[in-house]
Structure formats: structure tokens, C-alpha cells
Amino acid sequence: MRKATDREPSKPDILSRLYVAGQTPKSLAAISNLKKICSEHLGGRYKIEVVDLLKNPALAKDHQILAIPTLVRQVPVPLRKIIGDLSNTEQVLVGLDVRSFEGTNRGAGKTSVGATRANR
């Protein structure tokens, strides 16, 4: 499951991975919440990978995942983790540190930032 912008699919500003375990209500809620937040606040500058640990349990060890669902921001560094069904948009944005990211990349993503503000 991948989402990429039509603008620069090879170089997204935010790369995140969502870890789930099977099709549980919490997992499904997290996926839909994340999609919604990303499309509403991050415009086209993101890329999401959904990893199902039931299918690939060894990855849990490699990626140090414990809670389900867990969203991991891979890029930009540092790594950030958000756990839960992502039902609180504000907390997710804080967790992904979109604000500071916006601050440092103001020039690069003006349109999207404008869109984010408009939505708020």
C-alpha cells in the first residue's frame, strides 16, 4: 500500500511506515486516519508504507515495534514513533513534527503549508 504524490514520487519530504497486525479495527482505523491526515495536512509530500507484522513477524524485532498500531517517521531523521489509532490529528501532527518540518522547509513546500493553514 503506497501513497505518493504525483509531483515528486521519488523524493517525498516525509516517509513513514505504519505497522499493523492483521485487519483489526484499530489497524483499519489507523490506516484511514493516517490517510486522511496526510492528504489534508501534508499535501503530496509524503509516502506511507503499511507493514503487517502478522505476515512478517521478524520485522517487529528488526524495527523494534511493540505497540500496534505504530507509525514510524523514517524521513526526515530523527526517527519518530507514534502509537495508537491516530484518532487525534493534532497529536499526530505534533508526533510527526510537521510544524518544525514546515519551518525548516518553508521555501520548498509553500503551497502545501498554505493548504494546511487554510484547513485549520
Binding site: Y19, L53, G95
Partner: protein, 589 residues
């Protein structure tokens, strides 16, 4: 849940009692006090403060399970990485890497830095289940250890979710029949900091450590063990290079085998005092005495005699180094070194203050198990017990004596008593534990100090009641009967003087007798001489009388002849003369 109820019903006996199945830990002593190990298929908590050894205990449970009972294990670590843990337990000779390579152990590490985590909305810890499941399947594990699951509490702010998830996890582990061990930090007023015992209550083992008299002692107590009997006391335990050992008071029942066989004491004269045969094999002998009374020498003589029979003797010193003991004993004609070379004498020594009492006991256990000696000498046991309470000392002594007796080992326990204390009230309070009690004491008299020995008691034999003088000569130990006179026991030069005096008296008496006999003999001789003289005189008198008689008859004959001559010459008057002659003859009677 269906599986669980099936398992439960399968275990139920016709009488309705479901016995608790147990998983042996393989840890020395723990299986004894828990009456067979930890509850199988259930969860046990090891709780204790930092450094109490809970992680070590858990890992040993897994390692022994994997190596001794063919029950592979999973170690899920939350605090230390597998590399760290592997390194930590390498000192216990546990090679976790090797076990992992053999698929006997699966190490997993969960680390979360709370600073990186943002919580939003509902979540669960399914991954924990997935990871455990994955690990269990990878090695077909029967045992699981979670070290320390409480770390999760600092990682998740939503306690409600976490507690619910832990409850679910423990139920899940139980349902799968995994024998699980959880380590937990001890809390204030509670067994564990996060109250884990509320979820897991089948078995709780509390570990503790204290420093008493500057000596570190670990303790273990089974706080709770549902559905089974277990030891309730606090048991001291140790962690050393061979893992963990708990030393419960072994053999609560007194059922040692007894031997009729006798072994020499190494001193023939002392054997003589004990029916001429010495100690019973496997008995415990207490040798008490003040400093310098010859305890070590006596014990060494025994060790020497043991080795001479080709048996092995373990000599443990707490005062002198083996080299020093060997040198000192050479001066009394006992050569221990060559027994050491032949590995018949195992001579070890360490400082009594080196470790706590339990460690000493364990070290003795280990030496005995390694060398399997027929005799053990501990010199002196009293040093080991300094600074301990009478109760502790007694407990340790009892366990030691018990252990040696069970192994059929003849033990010489040297006990150094103070000079001013009553010799017969040994500080150790162990006199009743000893089968034979030999007392060495010194007697000060006439400006010298001499050693005395006596057998205070010796169970099962008619031992001598005599006090003997204990002599240490260049050719070993010897005993001589002490002289008992009006002023008490005479020893040393007083004894020698007394003996000399007796000898002189005897000689004098003998001389007197000889003199008297001589005088009598002389008198006899004199009388005999007198008799001879008288006899000679008698003979002379007899001779004389004969001579007189002879002379007389000669004279009478001469007179007759003279008369006849005269008659013939006259020729006349013969008839007259004849008649006269006749008348003369008639007159003669």
C-alpha cells in the same frame, strides 16, 4: 480458553484433585525448597531489588531447561541487549550464543526510548504476542522469561491499556502452557513495583540481599506457591561460577548410614585409648583446645594416616597457608607434601573473612564433590564462625556435619577455644553434633607448659577415661600416661623427675636387699668355717684318745712280757709263782 479447560480436565484425577505439574529448575536447592520446581505452564515472578540476582536466576532456569531437561526457552529482554546479557552470564559458564545456535534458546530484545514515542488513541501490544509466538515457534520453546516487563511501564503513559494488555499476555502465556518467569523490581510495601503479583499469582519468589558484618549474603524465599507445599524459610543462596546454589538445611531426617569400620587416628597411643582401633569411619570428630595445644599436629597425623592407607583427605585451613603447615609439620616428622604430589591430600586454604558463611559452606561442598575424599580436616572451624551468631553457627555446623556424614566422610573439625573460657563449653555449641570429642589442654606447672589429651566422649565405644600427656616429637605424635600424684597430674619434667625418683628408690631398695643377702651369706660362710674348725678339733681329740689307748695297751703288753721273761730267768719256784699268778688272775675282774 477451550484448550485451557481441556488441559485442566486432562490433568484432573478421578478424585477431583488436579495436582500441580512442576518444571524442574535444575538449580541446586531450588528444586528442593519448591518441592520439584516452578509451576509448569504457569507464570512465576522473581522479584527483588537491584542486584538481587533475579535475572541470573531466570537465565539459569532457561539455560538448565535447555541443557538438562530438553525444554528450549525464550528470553525476552526489555532492559539489556542480548549481547550484554550474554556477556554478563558468560562468567557463569553459560554460553547463550551456543545455545541460540543450537536452537535451544531464542533471545529477543525490546527496547523503546520513551522520548521518541507519541501516543494517540487506542492501541494494543499485539506485537509482544506476535514476537513471543514467533520466538516460541522458532525453538519450540517450553519456557519463557520476560526480563523485566516492568520496563514497559516507563514506556507507555496509558496505564489502563498497559495493564489490560499485561493481563491478556499472562493469560495467553498460560493458555499456551508456557512455563514463564517474570522478573520484577521490588516495590515499596508491595512485592513488585507495579503490582504485577496481582496478575500473576501462582508462584512468587522473593530475592533479597543484605550486608551483615560487612559480608554480603543473598537470601531467597518462596512467598507464595499456589497449590503445593514448599519451604517457607528464607534460604541463603549464592551465585558463583557454576551458577546459583541454594543450601537448604539438608536431610531434615537423621538417616545417615553408619559404619562399623574403624579408622586409625594416626597416633597409635590415641587409638589405644579408643579400644585400640580409633574413630568410626564417617564419624565427626571435634578436636578442641587453646592455641598451641597441638590441634593441627594431631589433625595432620590423622591426615597422614589417611593418605597412608591410600585414601584421599581434604585439608582445609583457615589460619595457615598449605606451605606453612607443610613446613611446620615436617619438623615433627609428618611429610604432607608428598601426599599432595600424589593427589591423596588436597590441601586448600583461604581466609575466613574472604566470603560469607554460606560461601564457605558451598566451597567446602564443591571441594568434597570434586575430590570425593574419605576424610576431611577443617582447621580451625571456629575461625569460620567468628562474628556469627550462635544460631547461624549452629545451623552451618549442622549442615556441614550432616553433609559430611551423609557422604560417609570422617571429619576432623578443629576448634580453637579461648584460653580463659571453659574448655568443655565450646563456643560453637556443636559438641552435641560431634561423635567424638577430643580435648587438648595445657597444664602449667613448675615453670613449664605441657600438653595433655583426653577423650571427652566418643559415641559407641568404650574409650579410655585417662588423661595422657601429649608429646610432639621429631618422629611424630606420641602419648604417654601422665603421672597422677597428690598434686594432680604431673607432666613434663615433673613427670620425668617423678619417674627418676621412683627409679632411684627402686635401685636403693635393691641395693639394700643385696647387702643384706651378702651379710647373711657371709655369716653362713663364717659359721661353716667354725664348724670345720670344731670338726678338725674333734678329729684331733679322737686321734689323741686312740693314741692314748694304743699306748696303754702297748705298755700292758710290755709289762706282761717283762714278767714272763723274769719267770723264765728264775726257773725256780715256778709252782709258787704259778699259784701266785693264778691267785692274781682270780683277783682281776
Amino acid at each position: 480458553m477451550a484448550t485451557k479447560s481441556n488441559r485442566a480436565s486432562a490433568r484432573t484425577r478421578p478424585n477431583g484433585v488436579a495436582p500441580i505439574e512442576k518444571a524442574l529448575t535444575g538449580i541446586r536447592g531450588l528444586d528442593d525448597i519448591s518441592a520439584g520446581g516452578l509451576p509448569k505452564g504457569r507464570t512465576t515472578i522473581f522479584c527483588g531489588g537491584p542486584g538481587s540476582g533475579k535475572t541470573m536466576l531466570g537465565i539459569e532456569f532457561l539455560v538448565r531447561g535447555a541443557t538438562d531437561f530438553n525444554e528450549p526457552g525464550v528470553l525476552l529482554a526489555f532492559e539489556e541487549s542480548p549481547e550484554e546479557i550474554t556477556r554478563n552470564v558468560a562468567s557463569l559458564r553459560f554460553d547463550l550464543n551456543e545455545l541460540a545456535a543450537k536452537k535451544k534458546l531464542y533471545l529477543d530484545y525490546i527496547s523503546i526510548d520513551p522520548g521518541q514515542i507519541q501516543e494517540t488513541g487506542d492501541y494494543d501490544l499485539d506485537v509482544l504476542f506476535i514476537r513471543i509466538q514467533h520466538a516460541v515457534e522458532a525453538v519450540h520453546a517450553k519456557r519463557v522469561m520476560l526480563d523485566t516487563i516492568e520496563a514497559l511501564f516507563s514506556n507507555f503513559s496509558n496505564q489502563r491499556i498497559l495493564r489490560a494488555e499485561l493481563r491478556r499476555l499472562f493469560a495467553w502465556l498460560k493458555q499456551r502452557g508456557l512455563t514463564t518467569v517474570i522478573t520484577a523490581e521490588r516495590g515499596e510495601g508491595t512485592l513488585t513495583r507495579e503490582g504485577l503479583e496481582e496478575y500473576v499469582s501462582d508462584c512468587v519468589i522473593l530475592l533479597d540481599h543484605r550486608v551483615k558484618d560487612q559480608i554480603f549474603v543473598r537470601h531467597m524465599r518462596i512467598v507464595k506457591y499456589r497449590g503445593t507445599q514448599h519451604g517457607m524459610d528464607e534460604y541463603p543462596f549464592l551465585i558463583d561460577e557454576n551458577g546459583m546454589s541454594i543450601l537448604p538445611v539438608s536431610a531434615l531426617q537423621l538417616r545417615h548410614k553408619v559404619s562399623q569400620e574403624r579408622v586409625t587416628t594416626g597416633v597409635p597411643a590415641l587409638d589405644e585409648m579408643m579400644e585400640g582401633q580409633g574413630f568410626f569411619r564417617g564419624s565427626s570428630v571435634l578436636v578442641s583446645g587453646a592455641a598451641g595445644t597441638g590441634k593441627t599436629t594431631l589433625a595432620s597425623a590423622f591426615a597422614d594416616a589417611t593418605c597412608r592407607r591410600g585414601e584421599r583427605c581434604l585439608f582445609i585451613g583457615f589460619e595457615e597457608s598449605p606451605a606453612q603447615v607443610a613446613r611446620n609439620l615436617r619438623s615433627v616428622g609428618i611429610d604432607l607434601n608428598h601426599w599432595v604430589e600424589k593427589e591423596l591430600l588436597i590441601h586448600d586454604a583461604w581466609r575466613p573473612t574472604q566470603f560469607g558463611l554460606e560461601m564457605h559452606l558451598l566451597r567446602i561442598h564443591k571441594l568434597v564433590e570434586k575430590w570425593k575424599p574419605q576424610a576431611v580436616v577443617i582447621d580451625p572451624i571456629s575461625n569460620l564462625l567468628t562474628g556469627t551468631s550462635q544460631l547461624e553457627a549452629r545451623s552451618v555446623m549442622m549442615r556441614l556435619v550432616d553433609f559430611l556424614k551423609t557422604a560417609g566422610i570422617t571429619a576432623i573439625l578443629v576448634d580453637l577455644t579461648g584460653r580463659d573460657t571453659d574448655l568443655e563449653s565450646t563456643k560453637l555449641g556443636v559438641s552435641s553434633l560431634a561423635d567424638t570429642w577430643i580435648l587438648l589442654r595445657d597444664v602449667e606447672m613448675n615453670g613449664e607448659r605441657n600438653r595433655c589429651i583426653y577423650v571427652l566422649k566418643s559415641r559407641g565405644m568404650a574409650h579410655s577415661n585417662q588423661v595422657r600427656e601429649f608429646l610432639i616429637t621429631k618422629r611424630g605424635v606420641d602419648l604417654v600416661p601422665a603421672y597422677i600424684g597428690l598434686e594432680g597430674v604431673l607432666t613434663g619434667s615433673a613427670r620425668i623427675a617423678q619417674q627418676a625418683k621412683e627409679l632411684a628408690d627402686a635401685k636403693q631398695k635393691e641395693q639394700e636387699v643385696q647387702l643384706k643377702r651378702l651379710q647373711a651369706n657371709r655369716k653362713v660362710l663364717a659359721l661353716e668355717a667354725q664348724i670345720a674348725a670344731l670338726q678338725a678339733e674333734a678329729a684331733a681329740q679322737a686321734e689323741l684318745s686312740e693314741q692314748i689307748a694304743r699306748q696303754d695297751s702297748e705298755r700292758a703288753e710290755q709289762a706282761q712280757m717283762d714278767r714272763e721273761e723274769m719267770l723264765e730267768s728264775r726257773n725256780a719256784g715256778r709252782s709258787r709263782q704259778r699259784a701266785g699268778l693264778i691267785s692274781l688272775r682270780k683277783a682281776k675282774p
